[in-house]
Symmetry: C2
């Protein structure tokens, strides 16, 4: 395949699909031909002639003239089916589906090799931030201490809105939904699943490690209250949902998703609303910070487009770090200091802190700041899920 | 060439050369063999055995077993000679020499093609920030509105020190020299030449345009006084030396290097001391910001190392934008609003502002804020050079 005969079969024509379409139409340097778009709902009004669409996936997957599949649908199972079939049929694939990629990561990497095709997914983590390509190309062999990211635009929008406008969680969520930055069912975003899937993908490229999402602790923001924002503000912090992966020693990495206090002099402090940010800390390159839009059809569409362009030049991820001799092992054995705001003393007791540095009780709310092992948090995750508890990594005692 | 038989000939063993050596030694995933290091001064004490060194460049350039030349010397003429000879001899080259690259840019791009070799130079602009690779790989085909960078660590160190400590230019320069962030002869840095060479290199990758450095206006920071810092502080700004390239219309770009006022809510505001920052504004990816160390042996060495690694995988810059149909033309026809602090009224008259928005006179200093065409600034550059004049792009009226 070369630039001249790139024939695209597109799956999905929602926000990102239409964003991609706009980007493609506006590009002067590179024309790619979308042969057909597969969508689910025949009844929905479209801004393109009906002849552009099909409702039968095989019309695209079995079309030998189509050499690149761009998968931009929501359903992860359908997406995996499409992507796997496309690769088996010898077609290159571009996708933005983090849930699908994170849950089938090893399989997808294997398939690329087996069927000798390219599979690119820059838009799946950090949207417009070219972080995967950089981890692949630039941090190759670097002694990477850690990678942390504000990777979820929805939660960042809600947290920024609560901080700036003093609104409560429900209003901030409603506003985000109204502006198109949150889904009608926001579960995957506000519970931290989305941030975790993205973290798992980045960990593959940062450290060559396939993380099973089920092995990674995450805690979202849906239980946040004004009291938590107030605590943060009084100390000069904002709260951001941060995905973290980093070395605990020479041969181990740990990873988790937790709200985190961010001081005013930190790079993440001004990453607000739908923007995303990623910080890489490495032995020699030192600290690097990437900032860009983390949501929206055009920003995500432009990341998809950059993959299409890279693909047309024969670019593939090489997963170099997976092939290096010393791939680190994943561990939950890592100490963190957390702020826990709670209402029920019994629930608080579950944490069984090794060391308590702050304790507060009022009629309205209570909190405790203490040190515990991530393993402990992981063990009680079922027990604290859906309780009135909000957890924040203080970032004050340890480097994560 | 593959990863397994990479044989490096290194030119120069100063700060970056030694930094690279440290990075190479610490890398677990990728071993590269430095066969020989060519240095100038046989008498200088070295931290490696003397057998590692040679003083005859042809011992490296004519050695058929060496397949990669890493050029890290100061002298730009010698560097070009080494790089050109290496390419003619079929060797791949990695360099960090911005002066050499900017002044021979077109020739070097031609030679890569003619001799079918790879020539990488990520460390030449923004040091540890992977900006060239990103412009090549990611912003390909993007509608890039503008690219602006804090690209010179020396001037940024001096400006930060003056702002934070209230010191004058001379003390701040001396401090930067003492800490190794400024050369004994700081001319290239403080006059803005270095920032301009880097801008010319980035413009090649951002827009496919070869800028002749002589056609680009630059004004450095060596005439800055406490009054300028005071003006900035009172208005809530910091002053940063910014390299700018951007579209003026569909088919034209303009470029210049000028100190610029930066407001507290801007990405560049917290890019302090030896750090660098780059902002890309594009139609669909929106605003993206990259931040990382812009100086120091290890940070620069790690960028050189990433080029060595990329080279071992066969990576080459493709200069895609130079091959696109619509390469924009360079123009000086662009309005900017500048603050000019001056002492001599006759010099001030040279600017002949189209529109004056502020005017200030005191016994100690005078300034004027007004709009003029960049072409006008360019025309009077010889006349204002070395006068007691300090120019700052206000950034208030136009988007540059």
């Amino acid at each position: 395949m070369t630039r001249d005969n790139l024939k695209i079969g597109l799956f999905g024509y929602g926000c990102v699909g239409q964003g991609l379409h706009d980007v493609l139409n506006s590009s002067k340097g590179f024309k790619a031909d979308i042969v057909k778009i597969c969508v689910k709902n025949p009844g929905k009004p479209r801004r393109l002639p009906m002849s552009s669409f099909t409702y039968d996936k095989y019309e695209i997957l079995d079309d030998p003239s189509i050499n690149l599949i761009v998968e931009l649908i929501n359903d992860a199972d359908d997406a995996f089916d499409i992507v796997a079939t496309a690769m088996k049929n010898g077609k290159n694939v571009v996708s933005a589906n983090k849930l699908m990629i994170a849950t089938h990561f090893r399989e997808l990497v294997d398939m690329q090799k087996r069927y000798n095709v390219s599979f690119l997914y820059e838009a799946s983590a950090g949207a417009s931030i070219p972080i995967i390509r950089n981890l692949e190309e630039y941090y190759d062999n670097e002694l990477l201490y850690s990678l942390r990211g504000i990777l979820n635009g929805t939660t960042n929008y809600i947290l920024t809105s609560m901080y700036n406008k003093g609104t409560n969680y429900e209003s901030a969520l409603a506003e985000a939904q109204q502006k198109g930055f949150a889904e009608i069912d926001p579960t995957l975003d506000v519970e931290g699943w989305d941030a975790k899937y993205k973290l798992c993908i980045l960990t593959g490229h940062a450290y060559g490690v396939f993380l099973d999402p089920a092995d990674v602790f995450h805690h979202g923001i849906k239980t946040i209250t004004k009291h938590d924002i107030q605590y943060a503000r009084e100390k000069g912090y904002k709260i951001k949902l941060v995905s973290y992966v980093g070395k605990t020693d020479e041969n181990h990495i740990t990873a988790f998703v937790l709200p985190r206090f961010i001081a005013a002099d930190k790079n993440f402090y001004n990453v607000d609303y739908e923007y995303n940010g990623v910080i890489a800390e490495a032995a020699f390159a030192d600290r690097q910070f990437f900032y860009g839009k983390g949501a929206g059809g055009h920003a995500t569409g432009s990341a998809v487009f950059s993959d299409i362009s890279a693909n047309s030049y024969g670019y593939r991820y090489e997963y170099k770090k997976m092939r290096q001799e010393l791939v680190p092992e994943y561990t939950l054995d890592h100490k963190i200091e957390v702020y826990v705001r709670y209402s029920d003393d019994k629930t608080a007791d579950l944490f069984n802190f090794e060391d308590v540095s702050e304790c507060f009780r009022s009629k309205e709310y209570k909190y405790i700041v203490g040190t515990l092992n991530l393993k402990k948090l992981f063990d009680i995750k079922e027990l604290i899920f859906d309780r009135d508890i909000f957890i924040v990594n203080t970032g004050r005692k340890f480097t994560d």
